[in-house]
């Protein structure tokens, strides 16, 4: 089966492409990229100058299945991913039961193969049951396809345990992704400690509660040699720690979310909007500005959503009782285009690095580039599409986005996974 994408504005910094060209795909692989391509038989689409990039990957997503299917499941979560322009996601293991053994990995992979609309990479847990005291069967999980390890959602509290996790994981050439939150220091913190915690009368979640563990994990990375990926980094000083570690040559990477880049604690007003309750919390404007700087200068490796769907009734509750998290798969690309690419803060090439190239490198999965022989995982972007975020348009089961009502520019119109369309003209291909 052949696919010919005509008049595509191809952008891929891996191969130095930024030009208009045609892309010919056959049997799931890119065959040729060039001018005036033709084929004898197959599907031909004229993209009319839309941007085509290597398929986007979000390496921090909660698909909630198994266990919390009322919030999201693999079918709905991967549809939301495709709708947002992603060809692959990496799902977190804090499901019920926790994905801490090969059975869990196989279950998610099987469901994704059966009902999914994008590739699903599975991260297994570091500790059994996320309890932080017994190692998970990482070797068996690797054998069944787990790509990374994390106790995301709470983090590994003990330094000794973290050392065991990273020591043990090092033998598999898999990254340990760390949710940095010192429970003893953070306690029941609800919002960033400072202006907003004081004004709204809630316990603060201090930046230091995150920075302490970033520093600790970098030290353990130095001790063990295991690659470390700092998840949802939110503070200026935390970023500084990562910058220093990279300068030192340690295998340390980090990610930031659109909500920590483009929202601050000041957005949380007297209405106690629980959609803005996220973990780590929204920080100060200075922190957000530092993160943008890190995105520009390369300290930040990846933009991820930490897509965290919740039931409507869970969020329609007292702020202190509502669960942490917001969804993000369907707004991430547009937020990056609107807030970073369109104003010229970063180039399209840098956006592709952040959302397609580096995520694959961190997960150590197959490289996808716009070159012959590569897997045809492609995202087609209309950079000028103007749209308003509307909860009714989400394909996720959840609507807990902090960006509802935002006016954005640019969105994915078509997505191809292995040469097959999962999204066409903005609609999921069933």
């Amino acid at each position: 089966m052949a696919l010919l994408l005509k008049n595509a504005h191809v952008i891929d910094p891996q191969v130095g492409l930024n030009e208009t060209a045609d892309i010919l795909v056959r049997d799931g692989k890119i065959v040729e990229i060039g001018q005036n391509l033709a084929m004898e038989k197959g599907v031909e689409r004229d993209l009319g100058g839309k941007i085509v990039v290597p398929g986007l990957v979000d390496i921090h997503v909660h698909l909630r299945e198994p266990g919390y299917e009322t919030k999201e499941d693999i079918a709905s979560g991967t549809r939301a991913a495709a709708h947002g322009g992603f060809t692959a996601v990496c799902c977190m293991p804090n499901t019920k039961p926790v994905i801490d053994n090969a059975v869990g990995v196989e279950y998610v992979k099987a469901r994704a193969a059966a009902v999914g609309k994008c590739r699903v990479h599975v991260a297994g847990s570091c500790s059994q049951g996320l309890a932080g005291d017994t190692l998970s069967e990482m070797g068996d999980m690797v054998a069944h396809g787990a790509v990374a390890f994390t106790d995301d959602g709470r983090g590994v509290q003990g330094a000794g345990m973290m050392r065991r996790v990273m020591d043990y994981a090092a033998q598999f050439d898999r990254v340990v992704m760390s949710h940095c939150q010192d429970e003893d220091l953070v306690g029941a913190g609800q919002v960033n400690e400072g202006v907003v915690s004081t004004r709204l009368g809630m316990l603060g979640w201090p930046a230091e509660g995150e920075e302490i563990q970033i520093a600790r994990d970098i030290a353990i990375c130095r001790l063990t040699g295991c690659p470390l990926h700092v998840q949802h980094l939110t503070t200026a000083r935390g970023l500084e720690l990562v910058r220093a570690a990279k300068a030192e040559g340690l295998p340390v990477t980090c990610e930031v979310t659109p909500h920590h880049l483009f929202l601050t604690e000041d957005a949380i007003g007297d209405d106690y909007n629980t959609f803005l309750k996220v973990n780590p919390p929204l920080r100060t404007a200075d922190d957000a500005a530092a993160l943008v700087e890190g995105v520009k200068d390369g300290t930040v490796d990846a933009i991820v959503t930490d897509h965290a769907p919740h039931n409507d009734f869970e969020k329609n509750a007292e702020f202190e009782l509502a669960p942490f998290g917001m969804i993000g798969l369907e707004t991430s690309l547009a937020l990056v285009i609107t807030n970073l690419v369109a104003p010229g803060i970063i180039s399209w090439e840098r956006a592709v690095e952040l959302m397609a190239v580096r995520p694959r490198e961190i997960l150590r999965v197959e490289r996808v580039a716009l070159e012959p022989g590569a897997t045809a995982d492609l995202t087609v972007i209309d950079p000028d599409a103007a749209w308003t975020v509307d909860a009714a348009d989400f394909l996720s089961k959840a609507v807990n986005s902090g960006f509802i009502g935002a006016e954005l520019t640019g969105r994915a119109t078509d997505v191809y996974v292995g040469g097959y369309a999962t999204l066409e003209d903005g609609a999921i291909v069933e």
Partner: protein, 314 residues
């Protein structure tokens, strides 16, 4: 000029003039509270729900008395009957109450922001009777009344607030209210009981030294040490707290001759106040504060229910 509030949730939404309207209206209720028949028919037929989702004896009794003296029909809702115990959500509970066609909800909850949430959901008038560590505006108004009654003018008064500022909903309303009325506010507490940003509340001065602050103060507002709300004690012992931050007879010489002592009650005698200071005949207005609670809460209900443009609806 006109008092035009539907709710009493966030004291910072009230102007100095609004607050004076409450205090002056409260004085008019003294006559009602001092006669044989301590009741007027003003709120006849109005249904007020006392939704206390957290144990409270004093505040609830004060509201109940105020409601009864205004002839409102009141319903106590909460305690062991709270629907949250049965797994019902706050929103469902409030919508159920609204189906009873009620006019006003007085809410006490251990979570910040609940009164606003109820106001958004219900359409009824809402009075915040204390939400988590956030605000307690009716306490602030009764405090202002007690101080105003003795001192006359609030503007320019130097008020010190001593104790658990960081975990105190009383402070969340009192300090902004004092600032609205033109007072100069000093907060005095060990760093472990200080909020992250006392300046955001309106504090002009922040200190850990009670003895250095006392000589300047016209009003010393002692907070209750809220032992039940502190996880992992933020001070080594009650004895040491009393030594450093207790208002004791030994400290009286440091005070201005006419400095007042306030406390929201109930008092931990021997901790934040000794009996000499708590019962001081010239300085302590603690029992006046209790009476002021009745007067100001009657005034608040009178003004809020009469002051709505759309009359009584829920």
């Amino acid at each position: 000029m006109a008092f035009n509030h539907k709710h009493l949730i966030d004291i910072t939404e009230y102007s100095a003039e609004d607050i004076m309207t409450v205090l002056e209206t409260a004085t008019r209720f003294k006559e009602v509270n001092e006669r044989r028949i301590k009741q007027v028919p003003t709120l006849k037929g109005v249904t007020v729900v006392n939704m206390f989702n957290e144990p409270s004896t004093r505040t609830r009794s004060s509201f109940e008395i105020a409601e009864k003296r205004l002839s409102a029909n009141s319903l106590n809702f909460g305690g062991s009957s709270t629907s949250t115990v049965k797994g019902e959500s706050l929103v469902d509970t409030v919508e159920t109450l609204c189906a009873y066609k009620i006019d006003m909800i007085i809410v006490r909850d251990k979570h910040a922001g609940v009164p606003r949430k109820i106001a958004d959901v219900s359409g009824a008038h809402v009075i915040d009777a204390g939400d988590g560590k956030h605000q307690h505006p009716t306490q602030a108004l009764l405090d202002l009344y007690s101080i105003w009654e003795v001192k006359g003018d609030l503007a320019g008064l130097k008020v010190g607030v001593v104790g658990d500022i960081g975990h105190s909903r009383v402070c969340g309303s009192l300090i902004p209210a004092l600032k609205i009325m033109g007072c100069e506010v000093t907060v005095i507490a060990p760093p472990t009981l200080m909020p992250a940003r006392p300046d955001i509340l309106g504090a002009d001065h922040v200190t850990t030294k009670l003895d250095e602050a006392l000589p300047d103060l016209d009003v010393v507002y002692m907070l209750r040490i809220q032992r039940e709300r502190l996880e992992g004690a933020p001070y080594p012992s009650l004895r040491e707290y009393n030594m450093l931050y207790g208002l004791t007879k030994e400290r009286e010489p440091l005070m201005k001759p006419d400095a007042l002592i306030c406390h929201p009650g109930p008092i931990n005698r021997g901790v934040e106040l000794d009996s000499y200071m708590a019962d001081h005949p010239n300085r302590s207005v603690i029992l006046d504060q209790v009476y002021a609670g009745i007067l100001t809460r009657m005034a608040e209900m009178y003004l809020l229910l009469g002051g709505s443009e759309d009359g009584l609806t829920a």
